[in-house]
């Protein structure tokens, strides 16, 4: 019996940001394998390249060198259209800065994600999703625009948007960064629940050791590399 194919396989990944003459090496040779159904916490100091790694895994940025295989596909070999399809069908992204569309209400932000994925108004997800929104404590704030939501509320709306299409891979960049203990716990339990019930693979960046404890395994990053302390 052969090992099932891992969902993510990163080999010797490097990323250099170029801004004019200045070059910043954000990733300097990352190796990482993630099995399907894993819940992984990524920790590390600020600037160690955690968000950059997520951007590349989510197909938002391209690697400078190295290989990234997601769901059996080498990202570097994909066309723009195929990369767009991965973002749309495979990945749910929670941004460190939430990145909600400012002109749309919270509800429309979430529906936009459904619309883009071609999954508007699926009745079987509707009840589950309403429950989830109540659980996240934003059910009553859905008609507000991001501007009139607190940072924590925006963050929870962003989480709802990331999971609404049941992506196989959830990339959550500090999903509890702006939440109090109580709400952090809600979000972390929700992620663990998704992971356990539907087998979604979850990668979560966090600075908080208590949050990291929810994961199956903790990956440490420093200076653009994964370290084994």
């Amino acid at each position: 019996m052969s090992e099932p194919q891992p969902l993510i396989q990163v080999r010797n990944l490097a990323k250099i940001y170029r801004m004019g003459d200045v070059e910043v090496s954000a990733l300097r040779g990352v190796d990482l394998t993630v099995q399907r159904g894993e819940f992984i916490a990524i920790v590390g100091p600020s600037g160690s390249g955690k968000s950059t790694l997520f951007y590349i895994l989510g197909g938002l940025a391209s690697a400078s060198s190295g290989s990234v295989i997601i769901d059996g596909k080498e990202l570097a070999h994909l066309s723009d259209t195929e990369r767009t399809r991965i973002r749309r069908d495979l990945v749910g992204f929670v941004f460190q800065k939430y990145n909600l569309l400012p002109t749309l209400s919270a509800r429309d932000n979430i529906e936009m994600a459904q619309y883009i994925a071609g999954q508007t108004h699926k009745p079987e997800t509707a009840a589950w999703f309403r429950q989830t929104l109540e659980l996240l404590g934003v059910g009553h704030r859905l008609n507000h625009k991001p501007r009139s939501l607190s940072g924590g509320e925006q963050q929870r709306v962003a989480i709802a948007r990331a999971i609404v299409n049941h992506p196989a891979l959830v990339l959550a960049d500090e999903p509890t960064g702006n939440l109090d203990t109580e709400n952090s716990e809600v979000v972390l339990k929700l992620l663990r629940d998704l992971n356990e019930r539907t087998g979604q693979t979850i990668l979560m960046i966090t600075h908080n050791p208590e949050a990291a404890a929810y994961a199956h395994r903790i990956v440490h990053m420093r200076d653009g590399r994964i370290i084994h302390p």
Binding site: N99, L104, A113
Partner: protein, 364 residues
């Protein structure tokens, strides 16, 4: 959903939306007003020509339809025409330019009245003194004239003796022999108008006149009126095309600028959409929809503005210009603004569609 976003974007920057739509509207108005003025002024000329009550028009040899400056028909031709069969009334006029596109018409009030059924005086009455002038209502409105007022043209002072309803040949009349003498055309006429005993005799009468005056231009009024059209005014069509061209360029520039700033300021939002998996086509489609809305709202505004320009023209310069509303041209104007706008949205849309997703999100 995309429509919601488009609508919210337009609402969010409503000042820019209103200004862009207004600018598109102004160029639509430019086209429609020009067309409305051309059609209206020509239509008004036709109506006034018909309003003279004549069936046949005699013009001197080798003259053009528009632009009357000479009076080379000897008066004896008029007496001759009067004696032809079927001719009920014949009257001669002299038309003399008085600056700009304006002219004055000298009439023989007695025969002219018999032909046209007579002026309807709103105020005042017929000529009594050699310095009397009759104006129509539009002319009076434009130049703020009332009965008894002094009015100067051709280096002379005249007195307004009557204000009449518009629609009979011209707007400004003085007695025929006075204008003949003043313009050194004593004993000569610019045109001869003929009214028949029965319009059924038109063919026969025309034939007789043609035979008697072989070098002259003889028209039935219907023929003459059909010649007063946009096609027969030299340069007018070209002028309309030039204005359409300018409109396309203006629409292009306005929408280019508007969409360009919209794309720049929405860099982040476009990045978010792409991060969610939106295709370049979807992003482009969003901007195209926004542009189409701007163009259509602008066109609607432009059409409304033409009612404003028509009001202003009828209020202030009804003597010189007539503007009509030409709904036939609304789709053309809409097309012109759409073409200009979509061309303007092309580059910004392309820029947005191929924007790198994460670069956009890093944009603060």
């Amino acid at each position: 959903m995309i429509n919601k976003l488009v609508f919210q974007n337009l609402k969010h920057r409503w000042v820019r939306t209103v200004l862009s739509a207004t600018a598109v509207g102004v160029q639509v108005t430019m086209i429609l007003t020009l067309v409305g003025l051309s059609f209206g002024t020509l239509e008004d000329m036709s109506q006034r020509s018909k309003g003279a009550g004549a069936d046949i028009l005699i013009r001197p040899p080798g003259s053009s339809i528009i632009g009357l400056s000479t009076a080379p028909i000897p008066e004896k031709v008029l007496s001759f025409v009067r004696n032809l069969p079927h001719v009920a009334v014949a009257t001669g006029t002299v038309v003399h330019p008085i600056g700009g596109a304006n002219s004055i018409t000298g009439i023989d009030l007695d025969s002219f009245s018999r032909m046209s059924g007579g002026f309807k005086y709103i105020r005042g009455g017929p000529f009594r003194n050699p310095d009397d002038v009759i104006v129509d209502e539009y002319w009076a409105r434009q130049y703020h004239l009332d009965v008894g007022d002094e009015y100067t043209f051709l280096n002379r002072k005249w007195h307004v003796c009557g204000i009449v309803q518009p629609g009979k040949l011209a707007r400004l009349f003085i007695p025929l022999h006075i204008l003949q003498d003043l313009s050194a055309n004593t004993g000569k006429l610019t045109m001869i108008y003929v009214k028949l005993d029965d319009p059924a005799n038109l063919k026969e009468a025309m034939k007789a006149i043609r035979a008697a005056l072989p070098d002259y231009q003889i028209y039935s009024i219907a023929e003459y009126v059909s010649l007063i059209s946009v096609d027969n005014i030299p340069g007018l069509k070209a002028f309309i095309y030039v204005v359409i061209g300018i409109s396309i360029v203006v629409g292009f520039l306005v929408v280019f600028l508007s969409m360009y700033t919209a794309v720049l300021e929405r860099t982040r939002e476009i990045g978010i959409l792409k991060a969610l998996g939106a295709t370049p086509g979807m992003v482009l489609g969003m901007l195209v929809r926004e542009t189409v809305i701007l163009a259509l709202v602008g066109t609607a505004a432009g059409i409304l503005f033409t009612y404003g320009t028509r009001w202003a023209i009828m209020r202030y310069v009804p003597g010189s210009l007539t503007q009509v509303i030409v709904p036939d041209w609304w789709p053309i104007a809409a097309l012109v603004s759409l073409v200009g706008s979509l061309l303007g949205a092309l580059y910004p849309g392309w820029k947005a569609a191929r924007q790198d997703a994460i670069e956009a999100l890093a944009y603060e």
